[in-house]
Protein backbone atom coordinates (compact mmCIF):
# COMPACT_ATOMS: atom_id res chain seq x y z
CA UNK A 1 0.00 0.00 0.00
CA UNK A 2 1.61 3.25 -1.08
CA UNK A 3 1.71 5.88 1.72
CA UNK A 4 -0.94 8.17 0.31
CA UNK A 5 -1.01 11.83 1.20
CA UNK A 6 -4.68 12.57 0.77
CA UNK A 7 -5.00 15.96 -0.78
CA UNK A 8 -6.01 18.53 1.82
CA UNK A 9 -6.80 20.82 -1.06
CA UNK A 10 -10.14 19.82 -2.57
CA UNK A 11 -10.16 20.28 -6.31
CA UNK A 12 -13.14 22.58 -6.27
CA UNK A 13 -13.82 23.94 -9.70
CA UNK A 14 -12.87 21.79 -12.65
CA UNK A 15 -10.34 24.14 -14.20
CA UNK A 16 -8.04 23.97 -11.17
CA UNK A 17 -5.10 21.62 -11.31
CA UNK A 18 -3.23 20.19 -8.29
CA UNK A 19 0.48 19.63 -8.79
CA UNK A 20 3.20 18.51 -6.38
CA UNK A 21 6.44 20.46 -6.36
CA UNK A 22 7.44 17.46 -4.44
CA UNK A 23 10.13 16.04 -2.21
CA UNK A 24 12.44 15.29 -5.14
CA UNK A 25 12.61 18.50 -7.20
CA UNK A 26 15.66 20.44 -8.32
CA UNK A 27 14.32 23.81 -7.19
CA UNK A 28 13.44 22.86 -3.61
CA UNK A 29 17.10 22.52 -2.57
CA UNK A 30 16.22 19.43 -0.53
CA UNK A 31 13.04 17.59 0.32
CA UNK A 32 10.44 20.33 0.68
CA UNK A 33 7.06 19.17 -0.63
CA UNK A 34 4.76 21.95 -1.84
CA UNK A 35 1.28 21.13 -3.11
CA UNK A 36 0.13 23.82 -5.52
CA UNK A 37 -3.37 24.49 -6.77
CA UNK A 38 -3.01 26.07 -10.18
CA UNK A 39 -5.32 27.96 -12.50
CA UNK A 40 -3.33 27.71 -15.71
CA UNK A 41 0.09 28.95 -14.57
CA UNK A 42 -1.23 31.12 -11.76
CA UNK A 43 -0.80 29.72 -8.25
CA UNK A 44 -4.12 29.75 -6.41
CA UNK A 45 -3.16 27.87 -3.25
CA UNK A 46 0.11 26.58 -1.80
CA UNK A 47 0.54 24.15 1.08
CA UNK A 48 3.90 22.93 2.44
CA UNK A 49 4.19 19.28 3.53
CA UNK A 50 7.26 18.85 5.73
CA UNK A 51 8.91 16.06 7.64
CA UNK A 52 10.72 14.31 4.82
CA UNK A 53 14.01 15.04 6.59
CA UNK A 54 12.68 15.25 10.17
CA UNK A 55 15.20 13.31 12.27
CA UNK A 56 13.88 14.41 15.67
CA UNK A 57 17.06 16.24 16.73
CA UNK A 58 15.23 17.84 19.66
CA UNK A 59 14.11 14.46 20.99
CA UNK A 60 17.57 12.99 20.42
CA UNK A 61 19.21 15.84 22.33
CA UNK A 62 17.20 14.83 25.39
CA UNK A 63 19.08 11.52 25.49
CA UNK A 64 22.54 12.87 24.68
CA UNK A 65 24.96 14.63 27.05
CA UNK A 66 25.82 18.31 26.69
CA UNK A 67 29.05 17.54 24.86
CA UNK A 68 27.33 15.25 22.36
CA UNK A 69 24.19 17.06 21.21
CA UNK A 70 26.15 20.15 20.00
CA UNK A 71 27.38 18.34 16.90
CA UNK A 72 23.92 17.26 15.83
CA UNK A 73 23.08 20.89 15.21
CA UNK A 74 25.67 21.12 12.45
CA UNK A 75 23.44 18.68 10.55
CA UNK A 76 20.50 21.09 10.86
CA UNK A 77 21.63 24.12 8.88
CA UNK A 78 24.67 22.47 7.33
CA UNK A 79 25.73 25.62 5.46
CA UNK A 80 26.14 27.52 8.75
CA UNK A 81 27.21 24.45 10.73
CA UNK A 82 29.84 26.33 12.71
CA UNK A 83 27.39 29.09 13.72
CA UNK A 84 24.89 26.48 15.00
CA UNK A 85 27.57 24.83 17.13
CA UNK A 86 28.66 28.27 18.34
CA UNK A 87 25.10 28.96 19.53
CA UNK A 88 24.97 25.71 21.54
CA UNK A 89 28.40 26.32 23.07
CA UNK A 90 27.39 29.86 24.04
CA UNK A 91 24.25 28.55 25.77
CA UNK A 92 26.28 26.00 27.73
CA UNK A 93 28.89 28.59 28.64
CA UNK A 94 26.11 30.94 29.77
CA UNK A 95 24.76 28.15 31.97
CA UNK A 96 28.12 27.30 33.47
CA UNK A 97 29.21 30.96 33.58
CA UNK A 98 32.61 29.97 32.20
CA UNK A 99 34.78 32.75 30.80
CA UNK A 100 35.90 32.06 27.20
CA UNK A 101 39.40 33.35 26.42
CA UNK A 102 39.69 36.25 23.97
CA UNK A 103 41.58 34.19 21.44
CA UNK A 104 38.77 31.64 21.23
CA UNK A 105 36.18 34.38 20.80
CA UNK A 106 38.05 35.94 17.87
CA UNK A 107 38.69 32.56 16.23
CA UNK A 108 35.03 31.63 16.55
CA UNK A 109 33.93 34.92 15.01
CA UNK A 110 36.40 34.53 12.16
CA UNK A 111 35.16 31.03 11.43
CA UNK A 112 31.54 32.20 11.64
CA UNK A 113 32.14 34.92 9.08
CA UNK A 114 34.02 32.51 6.79
CA UNK A 115 31.04 30.12 7.07
CA UNK A 116 28.67 32.96 6.18
CA UNK A 117 30.81 33.78 3.14
CA UNK A 118 30.86 30.17 1.99
CA UNK A 119 27.11 29.83 2.52
CA UNK A 120 26.28 33.00 0.58
CA UNK A 121 28.59 31.89 -2.25
CA UNK A 122 26.78 28.59 -2.55
CA UNK A 123 23.44 30.42 -2.42
CA UNK A 124 24.60 32.73 -5.23
CA UNK A 125 25.69 29.74 -7.37
CA UNK A 126 22.44 27.87 -6.88
CA UNK A 127 20.34 31.02 -7.49
CA UNK A 128 21.92 31.27 -10.93
CA UNK A 129 21.33 27.54 -11.44
CA UNK A 130 17.67 27.85 -10.49
CA UNK A 131 17.13 30.56 -13.09
CA UNK A 132 18.81 28.61 -15.82
CA UNK A 133 22.31 30.14 -15.72
CA UNK A 134 24.76 27.28 -15.22
CA UNK A 135 28.06 29.17 -15.24
CA UNK A 136 27.56 31.05 -11.90
CA UNK A 137 27.57 27.63 -10.19
CA UNK A 138 31.20 27.09 -11.20
CA UNK A 139 32.29 30.64 -10.40
CA UNK A 140 30.75 30.39 -6.92
CA UNK A 141 32.63 27.23 -6.01
CA UNK A 142 36.04 28.68 -6.88
CA UNK A 143 36.38 30.80 -3.71
CA UNK A 144 34.17 28.46 -1.73
CA UNK A 145 36.64 25.60 -2.22
CA UNK A 146 39.40 27.89 -0.89
CA UNK A 147 37.34 28.51 2.25
CA UNK A 148 36.64 24.81 2.67
CA UNK A 149 40.36 24.15 2.36
CA UNK A 150 41.00 26.61 5.20
CA UNK A 151 38.33 24.87 7.31
CA UNK A 152 39.81 21.48 6.59
CA UNK A 153 43.29 22.56 7.58
CA UNK A 154 42.18 23.86 10.95
CA UNK A 155 39.17 21.77 11.89
CA UNK A 156 39.78 18.57 9.94
CA UNK A 157 36.47 18.48 8.07
CA UNK A 158 35.08 20.71 5.32
CA UNK A 159 31.37 21.09 5.90
CA UNK A 160 30.31 19.87 9.36
CA UNK A 161 33.29 21.34 11.16
CA UNK A 162 32.49 20.52 14.82
CA UNK A 163 35.13 23.07 15.75
CA UNK A 164 33.34 24.72 18.68
CA UNK A 165 33.65 23.13 22.13
CA UNK A 166 32.05 24.44 25.36
CA UNK A 167 34.76 26.74 26.66
CA UNK A 168 36.37 27.75 23.35
CA UNK A 169 37.52 25.94 20.25
CA UNK A 170 38.76 22.40 19.86
CA UNK A 171 42.36 23.19 18.85
CA UNK A 172 44.43 26.15 17.81
CA UNK A 173 44.33 27.54 14.28
CA UNK A 174 46.70 26.17 11.68
CA UNK A 175 50.07 28.05 11.42
CA UNK A 176 49.35 29.44 7.95
CA UNK A 177 45.65 30.08 8.63
CA UNK A 178 46.22 33.83 8.69
CA UNK A 179 48.18 33.80 5.41
CA UNK A 180 45.55 31.72 3.62
CA UNK A 181 42.64 33.83 4.87
CA UNK A 182 44.37 37.01 3.72
CA UNK A 183 45.04 35.46 0.33
CA UNK A 184 41.39 34.39 0.10
CA UNK A 185 40.13 37.88 0.97
CA UNK A 186 42.49 39.50 -1.56
CA UNK A 187 41.39 37.13 -4.33
CA UNK A 188 37.70 37.35 -3.50
CA UNK A 189 37.83 41.16 -3.42
CA UNK A 190 39.23 41.07 -6.96
CA UNK A 191 36.65 38.56 -8.19
CA UNK A 192 33.53 39.89 -6.51
CA UNK A 193 32.89 42.14 -9.52
CA UNK A 194 32.37 38.95 -11.56
CA UNK A 195 29.37 38.18 -9.35
CA UNK A 196 27.84 41.49 -10.45
CA UNK A 197 28.72 41.02 -14.11
CA UNK A 198 27.35 37.49 -14.29
CA UNK A 199 24.02 37.88 -12.52
CA UNK A 200 23.31 41.32 -11.08
CA UNK A 201 23.69 43.16 -14.35
CA UNK A 202 21.99 40.47 -16.39
CA UNK A 203 18.68 41.84 -17.80
CA UNK A 204 17.07 38.39 -17.83
CA UNK A 205 17.94 37.89 -14.16
CA UNK A 206 16.67 41.35 -13.30
CA UNK A 207 13.38 40.84 -15.11
CA UNK A 208 12.95 37.49 -13.30
CA UNK A 209 13.56 38.94 -9.84
CA UNK A 210 12.60 42.63 -9.76
CA UNK A 211 9.13 43.11 -8.46
CA UNK A 212 8.65 39.36 -7.95
CA UNK A 213 7.84 37.89 -4.55
CA UNK A 214 7.09 41.10 -2.67
CA UNK A 215 7.12 40.76 1.14
CA UNK A 216 5.86 43.83 2.98
CA UNK A 217 7.44 44.89 6.27
CA UNK A 218 4.26 44.13 8.24
CA UNK A 219 3.99 40.66 6.69
CA UNK A 220 7.64 39.96 7.44
CA UNK A 221 7.11 40.93 11.10
CA UNK A 222 3.82 39.00 11.38
CA UNK A 223 5.52 35.91 9.93
CA UNK A 224 8.56 36.52 12.22
CA UNK A 225 11.01 36.37 9.34
CA UNK A 226 14.65 37.05 10.10
CA UNK A 227 17.96 37.37 8.36
CA UNK A 228 18.39 38.68 4.79
CA UNK A 229 14.69 37.94 4.06
CA UNK A 230 13.58 40.38 6.77
CA UNK A 231 16.35 42.90 6.18
CA UNK A 232 15.31 43.10 2.50
CA UNK A 233 11.86 44.22 3.67
CA UNK A 234 13.26 46.96 5.85
CA UNK A 235 13.45 45.34 9.31
CA UNK A 236 16.69 45.86 11.20
CA UNK A 237 17.09 42.53 12.98
CA UNK A 238 20.79 41.60 12.79
CA UNK A 239 21.60 39.72 16.01
CA UNK A 240 25.28 40.62 15.58
CA UNK A 241 24.25 44.25 16.01
CA UNK A 242 21.32 43.96 18.43
CA UNK A 243 22.97 41.73 21.06
CA UNK A 244 26.55 41.04 19.99
CA UNK A 245 28.16 37.81 21.16
CA UNK A 246 31.76 36.58 21.02
CA UNK A 247 33.88 39.17 19.21
CA UNK A 248 31.14 41.06 17.35
CA UNK A 249 31.19 43.96 19.79
CA UNK A 250 34.71 44.99 18.77
CA UNK A 251 34.22 44.95 14.98
CA UNK A 252 32.51 47.72 13.06
CA UNK A 253 30.36 46.73 10.11
CA UNK A 254 27.08 48.10 8.83
CA UNK A 255 23.82 46.22 8.64
CA UNK A 256 22.52 46.02 5.07
CA UNK A 257 18.86 46.99 4.89
CA UNK A 258 16.82 47.33 1.70
CA UNK A 259 13.19 48.36 1.53
CA UNK A 260 11.88 47.03 -1.78
CA UNK A 261 11.23 43.58 -0.29
CA UNK A 262 11.33 41.72 -3.60
CA UNK A 263 13.62 38.91 -4.78
CA UNK A 264 16.18 41.36 -6.17
CA UNK A 265 16.36 43.20 -2.83
CA UNK A 266 17.09 39.92 -1.01
CA UNK A 267 19.71 39.15 -3.65
CA UNK A 268 21.40 42.55 -3.18
CA UNK A 269 21.29 42.28 0.63
CA UNK A 270 23.16 38.98 0.56
CA UNK A 271 25.74 40.27 -1.92
CA UNK A 272 26.43 43.28 0.30
CA UNK A 273 26.56 41.02 3.35
CA UNK A 274 29.38 39.11 1.72
CA UNK A 275 31.36 42.35 1.50
CA UNK A 276 30.56 43.15 5.14
CA UNK A 277 31.74 39.71 6.20
CA UNK A 278 35.03 40.37 4.44
CA UNK A 279 35.36 43.68 6.32
CA UNK A 280 34.84 41.86 9.63
CA UNK A 281 37.43 39.23 8.73
CA UNK A 282 39.93 41.90 7.73
CA UNK A 283 39.46 43.74 11.01
CA UNK A 284 40.02 40.58 13.03
CA UNK A 285 42.61 38.63 11.06
CA UNK A 286 45.53 40.87 11.90
CA UNK A 287 45.07 41.08 15.65
CA UNK A 288 44.10 37.62 16.85
CA UNK A 289 44.94 37.85 20.57
CA UNK A 290 47.48 35.33 21.83
CA UNK A 291 46.92 33.06 24.76
CA UNK A 292 44.73 30.06 25.54
CA UNK A 293 42.34 28.92 22.84
CA UNK A 294 39.99 27.27 25.32
CA UNK A 295 39.22 27.01 29.03
CA UNK A 296 39.30 23.38 30.09
CA UNK A 297 35.94 22.20 31.45
CA UNK A 298 36.68 19.22 33.58
CA UNK A 299 34.43 16.20 33.85
CA UNK A 300 30.78 15.93 32.97
CA UNK A 301 29.00 19.16 32.12
CA UNK A 302 25.97 19.63 34.35
CA UNK A 303 24.02 22.86 33.95
CA UNK A 304 22.23 24.11 37.08
CA UNK A 305 18.44 23.77 37.02
CA UNK A 306 16.76 26.54 35.03
CA UNK A 307 16.23 27.90 31.54
CA UNK A 308 18.86 29.33 29.22
CA UNK A 309 18.56 31.14 25.92
CA UNK A 310 21.03 32.32 23.30
CA UNK A 311 20.45 33.68 19.82
CA UNK A 312 22.96 33.97 17.00
CA UNK A 313 22.84 35.28 13.43
CA UNK A 314 23.28 32.36 11.04
CA UNK A 315 23.60 32.90 7.28
CA UNK A 316 19.81 32.65 7.02
CA UNK A 317 18.63 34.51 10.07
CA UNK A 318 18.19 34.34 13.80
CA UNK A 319 18.77 30.96 15.43
CA UNK A 320 17.46 30.87 19.01
CA UNK A 321 18.44 27.99 21.34
CA UNK A 322 16.08 27.51 24.29
CA UNK A 323 17.59 25.08 26.79
CA UNK A 324 15.72 23.82 29.84
CA UNK A 325 17.94 21.99 32.29
CA UNK A 326 16.92 19.81 35.25
CA UNK A 327 20.45 19.58 36.67
CA UNK A 328 21.31 16.21 35.13
CA UNK A 329 24.05 15.71 32.54
CA UNK A 330 21.48 15.68 29.74
CA UNK A 331 19.34 18.67 28.68
CA UNK A 332 15.71 18.29 29.81
CA UNK A 333 14.30 20.04 26.77
CA UNK A 334 15.89 21.84 23.83
CA UNK A 335 14.08 23.98 21.30
CA UNK A 336 15.81 25.40 18.23
CA UNK A 337 14.00 28.45 16.85
CA UNK A 338 15.41 28.07 13.33
CA UNK A 339 15.27 30.91 10.79
CA UNK A 340 14.20 28.75 7.87
CA UNK A 341 11.07 27.47 9.62
CA UNK A 342 9.55 30.94 9.89
CA UNK A 343 10.98 32.14 6.56
CA UNK A 344 9.10 29.23 4.96
CA UNK A 345 5.86 30.79 6.23
CA UNK A 346 6.62 33.82 4.05
CA UNK A 347 6.63 31.66 0.90
CA UNK A 348 2.83 31.57 0.64
CA UNK A 349 1.99 35.31 0.75
CA UNK A 350 4.81 36.00 -1.70
CA UNK A 351 3.93 33.45 -4.35
CA UNK A 352 0.10 33.46 -4.37
CA UNK A 353 -1.13 34.96 -7.60
CA UNK A 354 2.26 34.58 -9.24
CA UNK A 355 3.36 32.02 -11.80
CA UNK A 356 5.22 28.75 -11.20
CA UNK A 357 8.41 30.17 -12.70
CA UNK A 358 8.26 32.96 -10.13
CA UNK A 359 7.83 30.40 -7.33
CA UNK A 360 11.23 28.98 -8.30
CA UNK A 361 12.77 32.47 -8.22
CA UNK A 362 11.14 33.20 -4.83
CA UNK A 363 12.39 29.94 -3.30
CA UNK A 364 15.89 30.71 -4.62
CA UNK A 365 15.73 34.15 -2.97
CA UNK A 366 14.49 32.65 0.31
CA UNK A 367 17.58 30.39 0.42
CA UNK A 368 15.83 27.64 2.40
CA UNK A 369 17.70 24.74 4.01
CA UNK A 370 15.17 21.98 4.53
CA UNK A 371 16.80 20.04 7.44
CA UNK A 372 16.75 23.41 9.26
CA UNK A 373 12.96 23.47 8.80
CA UNK A 374 12.31 19.85 9.79
CA UNK A 375 15.11 19.43 12.38
Amino acid sequence: MEQHIESHIIQSSDDEFIINVGPQHPSTHGVLHLQLKLDGEKIVDLRPFLGYIHRGIEKMSESLTYKQFIYLTSRMDYLSAHINNQACCLVIEKGLQTEVPERAKVIRTLMAELTRLASHQLWWGSTGLDMGAVSPFFYAFREREMILEIFEETCGSRLTMNYCVPGGVMNDIHPDFVRKVKQLIKQFRENIHEYDELLTGNPIFQSRTQGIGYLSKEDAIALSCSGPVARASGISCDVRKKNPYDAYDRVSFDEIIATEGDCFARYRVRLEEMKQSMNIIEQLIDNIPTGEYRTKIKGIIKLPVGEYYQRVETARGELGVYLVSDGSNKPYRIKFRTPNFSNLGALKPMSLGGKIGDLVAIMASLDLIIPDIDR
Partner: protein, 179 residues
Protein backbone atom coordinates in the same frame (compact mmCIF):
# COMPACT_ATOMS: atom_id res chain seq x y z
CA UNK B 1 47.68 -7.74 -46.62
CA UNK B 2 49.32 -7.89 -43.24
CA UNK B 3 47.55 -6.17 -40.39
CA UNK B 4 49.00 -4.54 -37.27
CA UNK B 5 47.15 -4.32 -33.95
CA UNK B 6 46.69 -0.83 -32.58
CA UNK B 7 46.71 -0.35 -28.84
CA UNK B 8 43.86 1.58 -27.11
CA UNK B 9 44.16 1.21 -23.36
CA UNK B 10 40.56 1.95 -22.54
CA UNK B 11 38.78 0.54 -25.59
CA UNK B 12 37.19 -2.87 -24.82
CA UNK B 13 38.34 -4.73 -27.95
CA UNK B 14 41.19 -5.37 -30.37
CA UNK B 15 41.62 -2.95 -33.25
CA UNK B 16 43.54 -4.10 -36.35
CA UNK B 17 44.62 -1.72 -39.15
CA UNK B 18 46.52 -2.24 -42.40
CA UNK B 19 49.63 -0.26 -43.34
CA UNK B 20 47.78 2.63 -44.92
CA UNK B 21 45.70 2.94 -41.78
CA UNK B 22 42.42 3.07 -43.69
CA UNK B 23 40.42 -0.08 -43.17
CA UNK B 24 40.37 -1.29 -39.57
CA UNK B 25 38.79 -4.32 -37.98
CA UNK B 26 37.42 -4.27 -34.42
CA UNK B 27 36.88 -7.53 -32.53
CA UNK B 28 34.94 -7.22 -29.29
CA UNK B 29 32.20 -8.86 -27.25
CA UNK B 30 28.76 -7.24 -26.88
CA UNK B 31 29.00 -7.49 -23.09
CA UNK B 32 32.36 -5.70 -22.88
CA UNK B 33 31.28 -3.08 -25.39
CA UNK B 34 27.92 -2.37 -23.73
CA UNK B 35 29.41 -2.23 -20.23
CA UNK B 36 32.16 0.10 -21.45
CA UNK B 37 29.48 2.45 -22.86
CA UNK B 38 27.22 2.19 -19.81
CA UNK B 39 29.85 2.65 -17.17
CA UNK B 40 31.30 5.75 -18.80
CA UNK B 41 28.00 7.59 -19.06
CA UNK B 42 26.22 7.08 -15.73
CA UNK B 43 23.62 9.81 -15.41
CA UNK B 44 22.86 10.45 -11.70
CA UNK B 45 19.41 11.50 -10.49
CA UNK B 46 19.26 14.85 -8.68
CA UNK B 47 18.41 13.46 -5.24
CA UNK B 48 20.03 15.33 -2.36
CA UNK B 49 18.21 15.33 0.94
CA UNK B 50 20.75 16.93 3.28
CA UNK B 51 24.43 17.65 3.95
CA UNK B 52 25.87 14.99 1.61
CA UNK B 53 24.19 16.81 -1.29
CA UNK B 54 26.51 19.78 -0.68
CA UNK B 55 29.56 17.55 -0.98
CA UNK B 56 27.99 16.08 -4.13
CA UNK B 57 27.72 19.62 -5.49
CA UNK B 58 31.39 20.15 -4.66
CA UNK B 59 32.17 16.96 -6.58
CA UNK B 60 30.19 18.38 -9.50
CA UNK B 61 32.00 21.72 -9.35
CA UNK B 62 35.19 22.62 -11.19
CA UNK B 63 37.74 21.53 -8.58
CA UNK B 64 36.75 17.86 -8.24
CA UNK B 65 34.85 17.75 -11.53
CA UNK B 66 33.10 14.40 -11.82
CA UNK B 67 32.50 15.05 -15.52
CA UNK B 68 35.95 13.58 -16.12
CA UNK B 69 34.24 10.21 -15.57
CA UNK B 70 31.04 10.97 -17.46
CA UNK B 71 28.68 11.69 -14.52
CA UNK B 72 28.02 15.39 -14.97
CA UNK B 73 24.63 15.07 -16.64
CA UNK B 74 22.48 15.07 -13.49
CA UNK B 75 18.88 14.40 -14.48
CA UNK B 76 15.89 15.72 -12.59
CA UNK B 77 13.57 12.87 -13.53
CA UNK B 78 14.17 9.19 -12.75
CA UNK B 79 13.04 8.27 -16.24
CA UNK B 80 16.30 9.56 -17.70
CA UNK B 81 18.63 8.59 -14.84
CA UNK B 82 20.43 5.28 -14.50
CA UNK B 83 22.13 5.95 -11.17
CA UNK B 84 20.60 7.25 -7.96
CA UNK B 85 23.09 8.72 -5.47
CA UNK B 86 21.18 8.74 -2.18
CA UNK B 87 22.91 11.75 -0.60
CA UNK B 88 21.52 12.56 2.84
CA UNK B 89 19.40 11.01 5.54
CA UNK B 90 16.39 8.96 4.55
CA UNK B 91 13.59 9.26 7.11
CA UNK B 92 10.49 7.15 7.42
CA UNK B 93 8.38 9.67 5.53
CA UNK B 94 10.98 9.77 2.74
CA UNK B 95 11.28 5.97 2.45
CA UNK B 96 8.22 5.40 0.22
CA UNK B 97 9.36 8.29 -1.99
CA UNK B 98 12.82 6.77 -2.40
CA UNK B 99 11.33 3.34 -3.17
CA UNK B 100 8.96 4.86 -5.72
CA UNK B 101 11.76 6.80 -7.42
CA UNK B 102 13.90 3.67 -7.55
CA UNK B 103 11.05 1.64 -9.06
CA UNK B 104 10.39 4.32 -11.68
CA UNK B 105 13.94 4.25 -13.00
CA UNK B 106 14.50 2.22 -16.20
CA UNK B 107 16.84 -0.76 -16.06
CA UNK B 108 19.82 -1.10 -15.79
CA UNK B 109 19.90 1.03 -12.65
CA UNK B 110 22.41 1.36 -9.84
CA UNK B 111 22.27 2.81 -6.32
CA UNK B 112 25.06 4.53 -4.39
CA UNK B 113 24.44 4.97 -0.64
CA UNK B 114 26.43 8.11 0.11
CA UNK B 115 27.10 9.03 3.73
CA UNK B 116 26.85 7.25 7.05
CA UNK B 117 23.12 8.08 7.35
CA UNK B 118 22.31 5.77 4.45
CA UNK B 119 24.61 2.95 5.50
CA UNK B 120 23.55 2.52 9.11
CA UNK B 121 21.61 5.64 10.11
CA UNK B 122 24.84 7.51 10.91
CA UNK B 123 24.66 10.06 13.77
CA UNK B 124 20.90 9.43 14.02
CA UNK B 125 21.15 5.67 14.38
CA UNK B 126 20.43 5.17 18.07
CA UNK B 127 18.09 7.76 19.52
CA UNK B 128 16.02 8.84 16.52
CA UNK B 129 12.50 7.59 15.98
CA UNK B 130 12.19 8.54 12.33
CA UNK B 131 15.43 7.60 10.54
CA UNK B 132 15.77 4.48 8.38
CA UNK B 133 18.86 2.66 9.69
CA UNK B 134 20.42 1.81 6.36
CA UNK B 135 18.69 2.19 3.01
CA UNK B 136 19.65 -1.31 1.91
CA UNK B 137 16.45 -2.33 3.69
CA UNK B 138 14.48 -0.47 1.04
CA UNK B 139 16.50 -0.44 -2.16
CA UNK B 140 19.32 -2.76 -3.35
CA UNK B 141 22.54 -0.78 -2.91
CA UNK B 142 25.57 -1.25 -5.18
CA UNK B 143 28.22 0.94 -3.55
CA UNK B 144 28.39 2.29 0.02
CA UNK B 145 30.43 5.46 0.65
CA UNK B 146 31.07 6.05 4.37
CA UNK B 147 31.66 9.54 5.77
CA UNK B 148 29.62 12.29 7.30
CA UNK B 149 29.71 13.90 4.77
CA UNK B 150 32.20 11.93 2.66
CA UNK B 151 34.76 14.05 0.83
CA UNK B 152 34.20 14.67 -2.89
CA UNK B 153 37.18 12.40 -3.62
CA UNK B 154 35.46 9.63 -1.64
CA UNK B 155 32.38 10.08 -3.80
CA UNK B 156 34.48 9.91 -6.95
CA UNK B 157 36.25 6.83 -5.61
CA UNK B 158 32.89 5.20 -4.96
CA UNK B 159 31.69 5.97 -8.46
CA UNK B 160 34.84 4.55 -10.02
CA UNK B 161 34.26 1.40 -7.94
CA UNK B 162 30.75 1.30 -9.40
CA UNK B 163 32.18 1.59 -12.90
CA UNK B 164 34.44 -1.39 -12.25
CA UNK B 165 31.50 -3.30 -10.85
CA UNK B 166 29.49 -2.60 -14.01
CA UNK B 167 32.39 -3.58 -16.23
CA UNK B 168 32.45 -7.16 -14.99
CA UNK B 169 28.75 -7.86 -14.89
CA UNK B 170 26.91 -9.53 -17.75
CA UNK B 171 25.42 -6.73 -19.83
CA UNK B 172 22.48 -8.65 -21.27
CA UNK B 173 20.75 -11.23 -19.15
CA UNK B 174 17.89 -12.61 -21.22
CA UNK B 175 15.86 -14.35 -18.51
CA UNK B 176 12.27 -14.32 -17.31
CA UNK B 177 11.76 -11.24 -15.04
CA UNK B 178 10.94 -12.76 -11.61
CA UNK B 179 7.55 -11.58 -10.29
Amino acid sequence: MDVIQKQFDDFPGEVYQDKSGHSSIIITQIDRFANWARSNSLWPLIFGTSCCAIEMMSAASAKYDWSRFGFEVARASPRQADLIIVAGTITLKMAPVLKRLYDQMPEPKYVIAMGACNITGGPFMLHSYSVVNGIDKIVPVDVYIPGCPPRPEALLHGMIKLQEKIKNTKAYVIEKPKK
